[in-house]
């Protein structure tokens, strides 16, 4: 698959196959979201839809730096990270459409789902909460002497939460194998980063926690991979926590309904010229890591996979109401049916 006309040494030690792989994951992410946009317009997505357009590079590049056995916890916009870690488009589609067969059986939304075996722990909505939780997973790795690493994403916004602070600080003190990836996409909903923090760079928080800090271009999937890989290595070798700040931009609104009225004119357009997929494709082409047929092959594969996933789940049912009460506790196994739902009390 690596093509003969290659002209430079492989970036970040990645093989041609891996470079094409990165393209595959980014393309899959974007195309899956595009499918979700049409489903949303058709009213098939039950709740809101959150896009990562323009941020596929940082999600994919950072998740790609993990090994099997490592566990990550995504943000709402880390669809790409979930996919890299083995979540399937079918699962994601089912989640958004609240299907009975979805990983959470229709209980939770979008990418809020987990598989600790594959290595992802879905987030909850209260921002920052996953930082302490992932510190706990890293604590488990440390206590059981397993050379595994946790990675948790936070936004430029989520870093303002108390939970973030308490979690990263605890992990730092314990020198846990944790990588904290700050996706700095310029906004938290409508709030620009300058109203979120007075710091020049979010990575400037690292010394205050006594941890390593590094900043990279999040729209360069390879650079993202490279800095995260280094942070993962450090964590795995007992070097403790790294704060990785990835500079990127949220080209779509906070969610589909957001008209981005608060964005200065021209800003989005400027970032369109800095698209992570375009940039990676350009690299693949100019440095000769992939041929046109390679690329077309990936595109076709993505289409095929998404077609298949969609075909499988589109007409699946919602969960049956009778499933609503099970599993709040291991014991008792189900909450009681309220008396007004039965004949009488």
């Amino acid at each position: 698959m690596t093509s003969p006309q290659r002209v430079t040494p492989p970036p970040a030690g990645l093989t041609g196959v891996q470079l094409l792989d990165l393209y595959y994951w980014m393309r899959l992410t974007r195309s899956l979201e595009e499918r979700l946009v049409s489903l949303h317009r058709q009213g098939k997505v039950v709740g809101g839809l959150f896009r990562s357009l323009g941020q596929e590079g940082d999600s994919v590049g950072s998740a790609y730096a993990l090994d099997p056995g490592d566990i990550l916890s995504p943000l709402i916009r880390n669809l790409g990270s979930m996919l890299v870690k083995g979540a399937t488009p079918l699962e994601v589609l089912r989640q958004y459409m609240a299907k009975a067969a979805s990983p959470t059986a229709g209980r939770e939304l979008n990418i809020h789902f987990n598989d600790l075996e594959r290595g992802f722990l879905g987030q909850v909505s209260p921002l920052g909460a996953m930082v302490p939780v992932m510190a706990g997973i890293a604590l488990y790795f440390k206590m059981t002497r397993q050379p595994r690493v946790g990675l948790v994403y936070v936004g430029d916004g989520a870093m303002s939460t108390g939970a973030f602070h308490e979690g990263i600080n605890f992990a730092a003190v314990q020198r846990l194998p944790l990588v904290v990836v700050c996706e700095n996409n310029g906004y938290a909903y409508s709030t620009p980063a300058r109203l979120q923090t007075a710091a020049e760079r979010l990575v400037d928080k690292a010394p205050g926690y006594g941890i390593a800090g590094v900043r990279a271009d999040g729209n360069d999937v390879v650079a993202t991979y490279e800095v995260t890989r280094e942070a993962v290595r450090r964590a795995r070798e007992g070097g403790g926590v790294t704060l990785v700040e990835l500079m990127t931009y949220r080209r779509k609104g906070h969610a589909e309904h957001d008209d981005q009225r608060y964005v200065p004119p021209g800003e989005i357009e400027a970032w369109e010229g800095n698209d992570p997929i375009d940039r990676h494709l350009a690299r693949l082409r100019t440095e000769g890591w992939a041929t046109e047929p390679d690329i077309a092959g990936v595109d076709a594969r993505v289409r095929r996979e998404l077609d298949a996933a969609l075909a499988q789940c589109l007409d699946e049912p919602f969960p049956d109401a009778s499933t609503a009460l099970a599993g709040v506790y291991a014991d008792p196994p189900a909450a009681p049916v309220e008396w007004y739902r039965r004949a009488a009390g």
Partner: protein, 326 residues
């Protein structure tokens, strides 16, 4: 005259108080240029400036804590929780700091914490909560939950003028679904702590609040038509303080009472209300006071599940029939 939605009523209420009293200011996430995710504060930053409509970092503890500090000094902050579910992040600040400040230390702390609450909107477990039970046992706080556009306006205004901290839980399902004429130029103020008879009746009382009032009214209508029952619907409007007198008066009249709320049953507000009914109207009860509430689970996302877990009009009808024939 045109009709005003529940959402617009809240907006008007805040706006009027901002115009009337320059000590009033707003603080929260994305309430400025965006006007909040539901546009409750739309246009306010343009009108009142960024100093009186403050976009904060994602920091609920800081929002409430800073509001408390400013309130001590004489300002009147109105805090927005982007979704009321995130009030959990400010739980310590509200219960330990804000609620106790007057009693402990003689500090006045007039502030409002408001935000979209409630389900029936496919919001899943973190965008659908009804947090009133979490704060009911906190002396020092007040809690209001309007059901109508008029009360939404009247209570937000009363909350802003109140000398004590008020939690204002607005129901997002009602934002654009409920509207009424609000009379031009009339000053609407709903006293905190007073219930409202939403529908008079003699056979049975439904005590409820917020979105559930509308389901209770539907149920009452159906029971009138189908069963010839005269059901009184008492809209509490305030939960803290609770209008004991209104509850007792209605129960003494009808002798049968159903307390209905959207939140889960165990530990929900209905327990408190039933205990009070027991204490103050036991002799008048011809049937046990009963509760209709959500099933005891986190609120799931899928429509089928949400519809099953949350109480529906049919459930109220069934429960009333059970009570009426007890």
């Amino acid at each position: 005259m045109t009709e005003t939605t529940y959402l617009e009523a809240i907006r008007q209420g805040i706006w009027e108080e901002m115009e009337r009293d320059d000590r009033v200011f707003l603080i929260g996430e994305d309430i400025g240029a965006l006007g909040g995710p539901f546009r409750v504060t739309e246009g306010m930053q343009a009108r009142f400036g960024a100093e009186r409509v403050i976009d904060t970092p994602i920091s609920e503890q800081a929002i409430v804590g800073a509001a408390a500090g400013a309130a001590h000094m004489g300002l009147r902050p109105v805090c927005e929780m982007q979704f009321i579910d995130f009030i959990a992040c400010a739980y310590d600040m509200l219960t330990n700091y804000v609620a106790t400040a007057r009693y402990r230390a003689g500090l006045r702390t007039p502030l409002v914490v408001r935000g979209p609450s409630g389900g029936y909107v496919r919001g899943g477990p973190f965008h659908s909560q009804n947090p009133e039970a979490a704060f009911l046992h906190t002396p020092g706080l007040k809690i209001v939950c309007p059901a109508t556009a008029r009360d939404a306006k009247g209570l937000i205004k009363a909350a802003i003028r109140d000398e004590d901290p008020v939690l204002f839980f607005e129901h997002k399902y009602l934002y654009r679904r409920v509207k009424e004429e609000l009379g031009d130029g009339e000053e609407i103020l709903t006293p905190i702590g007073q219930a409202r008879i939403a529908r008079g009746g003699t056979d049975l009382t439904i005590v409820t609040w917020s979105a559930m009032v509308w389901k209770a009214l539907e149920a009452a209508e159906r029971l009138a038509v189908e069963d010839g029952l005269s059901v009184e619907v008492l809209d509490l409007r305030s939960l803290l303080p609770l209008d004991e007198a209104a509850i007792v008066a209605s129960v003494r009249k009808t002798s049968r009472v159903l307390v209905a709320h959207e939140d889960t049953r165990t530990g929900g507000v209905a327990g408190e209300i039933i205990a009070r009914i027991n204490e103050l109207a036991f002799e008048w009860l011809d049937a046990p006071a009963r509760r209709v509430a959500a099933h005891d689970v986190p609120l799931p996302y899928a429509p089928t599940l949400e519809d099953f877990v949350l109480p529906q009009t049919d459930d109220l009808v069934a429960a009333c029939r059970w009570l009426a024939t007890y």
